[in-house]
Symmetry: C2
Amino acid sequence: MTSQERTREECAVTALLTDKYELTMLAAALRDGTAHRQTTFEVFARRLPNGRRYGVVAGTGRFLEALPRFRFDDAALALVADFLDETTLAYLADYRFSGDVDGYAEGELYFPGSPVLSLHGTFAECVVLETLALSIFNHDCAIASAAARMVSAAEGRPLIEMGSRRTHEMSAVAAARAAYVAGFTGTSNLEAQRQYGVPALGTSAHAFTLLHTSPDGPDEQAAFRAQVEALGVDTTLLVDTYDITAGVANAIAVAGPELGAVRIDSGDLGVLARQVRAQLDELGAPNTRIVVTSDLDEFAIASLRAEPVDSYGVGTSLVTGSGSPTAGMVYKLVEVDGVPVAKRSSHKESHGGRKQAYRLAKPTGTVVEEVVQMADSPAVEADGLVATALAQPLVRAGRVVADTDLQSARARVAAGLVSLPWDGLGLSSGDPAIPTRMVDAMRRA
Amino acid sequence: MTSQERTREECAVTALLTDKYELTMLAAALRDGTAHRQTTFEVFARRLPNGRRYGVVAGTGRFLEALPRFRFDDAALALVADFLDETTLAYLADYRFSGDVDGYAEGELYFPGSPVLSLHGTFAECVVLETLALSIFNHDCAIASAAARMVSAAEGRPLIEMGSRRTHEMSAVAAARAAYVAGFTGTSNLEAQRQYGVPALGTSAHAFTLLHTSPDGPDEQAAFRAQVEALGVDTTLLVDTYDITAGVANAIAVAGPELGAVRIDSGDLGVLARQVRAQLDELGAPNTRIVVTSDLDEFAIASLRAEPVDSYGVGTSLVTGSGSPTAGMVYKLVEVDGVPVAKRSSHKESHGGRKQAYRLAKPTGTVVEEVVQMADSPAVEADGLVATALAQPLVRAGRVVADTDLQSARARVAAGLVSLPWDGLGLSSGDPAIPTRMVDAMRRA
């Protein structure tokens, strides 16, 4: 088998990114005829993780790309033939999602109970999408939600996503995309540039400086010279491999005062940024920027606001959702043939019935409340407030109808952050920035 | 473009799962001739996360599968042509890793400073593998390390990995594999079965019970009947959609006392397990097992030791590494043309030079120390202890020479857990189970 064939084979698997129980439920439902009932499934988070004040919807575009590729090819069918009957296999062989999907636009903010995605179709066609939908939304929303906090903490300074090395190799690509949606400037990850057009950035690591070592010892200037010759004087030189003061001096000695930037990756970043800024100014390089990159999270970013830092590189805390690596989204059946249904459980709040959501804002644009009500209820009463319906048509009769442009999603996050009440951007643990009012949501199962 | 072609195109990307700086460093090093220096890069964790007492190496097999596929095809070259010169592009077009790789066998335990992977080759061929290697090891080791704690907490009861819905769709597959390495019995994820032979398990969710709702109300027995007819009486029925006591009664009424298992997914699992066990016994179903699955982590698993629980399903906490979603592995250049090199930084401990590691054990098999010394040092003095060299040859001259069988890796984790001193299996925060002694590790850069 050639490498190309192998790659293809290993990747033709969208439909198997699925929990087995979805297919056993499908088999049982096909057998007793309930598989063809019309259903609505909703994706929502019962709460925001970790005292967060808002969440950011991300992953919508990835889900809409994955949906048409959710097909059971011969390899997939061969695997599931092990535990499924002929009727179910025939259903899967012909599987195409033919229903409708509504959802919050990518980049929209969300709050507890916000129905960020709603799927409408037969039980059979909707139930098998649970894992794919939740994997995408739980990951991407977690990353985008953390990233947006970093963006607001950075107060306009550029942020670069560089966490690929700290997470699964394919999560890394999605994380770069989600961070970009939230307002990051670029990523270290090349595949994110290829697949999503996220600008890829980066110049060198300590290994490059260390490589320029001979039996006589290290030679930082040789490393800097090689980099400047290859990448030009506008590059970013990493100055903390040996001694930062000597590193900055070497950098300017080699590149001259037109050097683009220096990067600091260790130590007390605030102290060092001030010291390096003074040294650069003294060396006649006032336009050489300072990039900092060591173990930053939203709190460290905020604490550097007063320092002469020009941009931030964020790795681990970004790709791990800064303490909340998953968004807690669930995929719940809420309606069967027009009848609302819900689990009756002691501690998990569930609301049956197909829903619609509105966000209420003052005329100034500041949001005050999220209202989630039954889809067939009359439009929400706004009382001098502006009510905006949040769901967009994403898929109609199996066809993607929504725009999935990342620039629009970025604009939406930026607008969303501006729309929050003043304490909604607080980094400390707190209540959701606005309350969610569930109206008339549990009629009767 | 057909769906198949698109899938192939989107997946032929291994070489772009790379941070841009690796390729800019390559370009600069090719330009000044240092790219062809012989180097050693090592992968290790400076510390164990979160007070953990040991780590579990996982991902070795995935890295060895990915390595031969790390090639720059036309699509990849087209992307990087944007910022690379002709010499570098020609190098990448012909890229094949031709060096050697040594490493801890998959499933081996590791401790702070353990060199779990060492790559030997030119700077050029090694530097471009940083992101791929770290992504795989940081993710897979984090999951396997958390999973092993759950396995030891479960004291022999089976554990099922079911966290696919809480993490990126491709991480989910790798997480299922890593959990299996650590001793889990199976997974919910079908692709993990297809790709790695991890047994896939699962029967039904609340949606299936809720589906059996008519305008007259819910009908749990109809749902159970459909499931038993489709999957047989040995299936697992989910009994907590409405009322657990009624659910158990309905389950036995439909399936009879030969029912395989019931699953409880909410509430106080200890109390409910006892109550359900008593009810099942009373209904004449003493062999019907009890599966519990709600928000379990290693601590919850341990707290259920005294309860009549037959197996555990673990989701979120498994795929997020139970509080430590990344293993903190770094990829460091440690030797250039035979000269040890290391960053001199105030707070990050680095040891230059190519290393070898031994684990010292008492004749009983209990381990007492990890010794990491220079590769050219004489074998470690063992003082009545048994010294085992930990590195295995994984790749020789670019060819994979190691066995990557998952069953061997599983056996290795099981043996490793048995080899720890008695407090090494403690779930609370603590020191590493054994100390790591760095011998003669920094001669002179």
